[in-house]
Amino acid sequence: MADHDAHGEHVQHTEHVVPISTYVGVFLVLLVGTALTTGVAYIDLGRWNTVVALIIAVTKMLFVVLFFMHVKYNPGLTRIVIVGAFFWLGIMICFSMADELTRSWEYNPLPWNSSIILPYIQHFLF
C-alpha cells in the first residue's frame, strides 16, 4: 500500500445541490405511491396485496434514500452501511422464521441418516 492511500475514503466531497425540481418530483412520486398503496388495498389481489404493498413501500423508501437523503451523490461507504443494515435485518428475520415455520414439518429421513454413511464413520473411528 502506498502512502497516497491514506484517508482512502477521504475523497474530495463536492457538495451536491439537488435542484428543486428533483425534490418536487420525488415528492410527487411519494404522494402517488401513497395513493396507489391505499387504493390497491381496496382491490382483492389475494396474497399479492401484501407483495404489492411492500414493493410500493420499498420504492418509496428508495426515492427518499436516494434523493432526500442524498445517497445518490454520496460515496460508496454510505451505501455499504445501508445495505449492511438491511442485510443484518434480513438475517434476523430469515433465521427466526426458519425456526418458527419449520417446527411442525414432518420428519423426512435424509439420505445420509439412512444408515448408509454412519456405520462407516463409526467403524472407521472405533
Partner: protein, 231 residues
C-alpha cells in the same frame, strides 16, 4: 439520537480533533448513517416479531388491522412526506446560502407538519382506540365477533401500539432536534460552508419518515380493505 447533532453544534463549527472541516463533515455524516443502521436493527427487532406472528396469526391480524382507520394512516403518510420535503428544502436553503429567515421558515414548517402528525395520531387514533377499549393493558375488551381469535387480535394491537409508539417517540426527539436547529439558525450558524448539523438531522428525519412508509401498509392494510370496504 440528537447527540450527533448536538455534538456538532459547536460554536466555532470546527472541532480540534479533526484535520479540517471536510474531514469533520465526513465523520459527522458517517456517524449519523451508522446510527441509522442501529435504528434499522432497533425497529428490526419488532419487525421480525411482527413478521413471524403475522404469519402465524394472519386471520386475527386482519381483524386487528381493520380496527384501524385507513384515512388517518394515509393522511399522516402524506403529512410526513410533506415534512420530508420541507426538511430537504431547509437543507437546500442553507446549501445555497439563503437568508437565515428562509432556513428557519422551512424548519418551522417541518416542525408544524411533524406536530400535525403527532396531533392526528393522538387525537383521532390513540384517543379513539382508548375510548373503544382496544388499547392493550388499558382496559382492552374482547369483542364477541372476534370469537376465539380475540387474544391474537389483542396481540396485533400490542404490535400496533409498540411500533407506532416507538415511531412517535422518534418524532418527538426529532421535533426536539428541529427546535435546536431553529435556535442555531437564528444565531446565523449555518452558511453554505457549514450546515452539517442540518444535514445529519435531516437524515434522521427522513429515516423516521421511512419507518412510517413501512408501518402504514404493514399495520393498516393487512389483508386488504375490500372485505369491509373501509370505514
Amino acid at each position: 439520537m440528537s447527540e450527533t447533532a448536538l455534538h456538532h453544534a459547536n460554536p466555532t463549527g470546527f472541532a480540534h480533533q479533526f484535520e479540517d472541516l471536510e474531514q469533520q463533515h465526513e465523520a459527522g455524516r458517517l456517524g449519523m448513517w451508522i446510527f441509522l443502521a442501529t435504528e434499522i436493527l432497533f425497529f428490526g427487532g419488532m419487525f421480525t416479531a411482527y413478521t413471524i406472528y403475522r404469519a402465524l396469526h394472519l386471520p386475527a391480524f386482519v381483524i386487528g388491522s381493520h380496527l384501524l382507520e385507513v384515512q388517518f394512516g394515509a393522511t399522516n403518510t402524506v403529512v410526513l412526506i410533506c415534512s420530508s420535503l420541507t426538511m430537504a428544502l431547509a437543507i437546500r436553503a442553507a446549501q445555497t446560502g439563503k437568508e437565515k429567515s428562509t432556513i428557519i421558515m422551512w424548519l418551522v414548517l417541518t416542525m408544524i407538519l411533524g406536530a400535525t402528525f403527532l396531533g392526528l395520531k393522538l387525537r383521532f387514533e390513540w384517543y379513539h382506540d382508548y375510548v373503544e377499549h382496544i388499547v392493550p393493558g388499558f382496559g382492552f375488551v374482547y369483542r364477541p365477533e372476534w370469537g376465539s381469535l380475540a387474544p391474537s387480535v389483542q396481540m396485533f394491537m400490542c404490535f400496533y401500539f409498540f411500533m407506532t409508539g416507538l415511531h412517535a417517540l422518534h418524532m418527538v426527539v426529532g421535533l426536539g432536534i428541529l427546535a435546536v436547529l431553529v435556535g442555531m439558525a437564528g444565531k446565523g450558524k449555518f452558511t453554505s460552508q457549514y450546515y452539517v448539523p442540518l444535514e445529519i438531522s435531516g437524515l434522521y428525519w427522513h429515516f423516521v419518515d421511512i419507518v412510517w412508509i413501512f408501518l402504514f401498509p404493514l399495520l393498516y392494510l393487512i389483508g386488504g380493505r375490500y372485505a369491509s370496504g373501509g370505514h
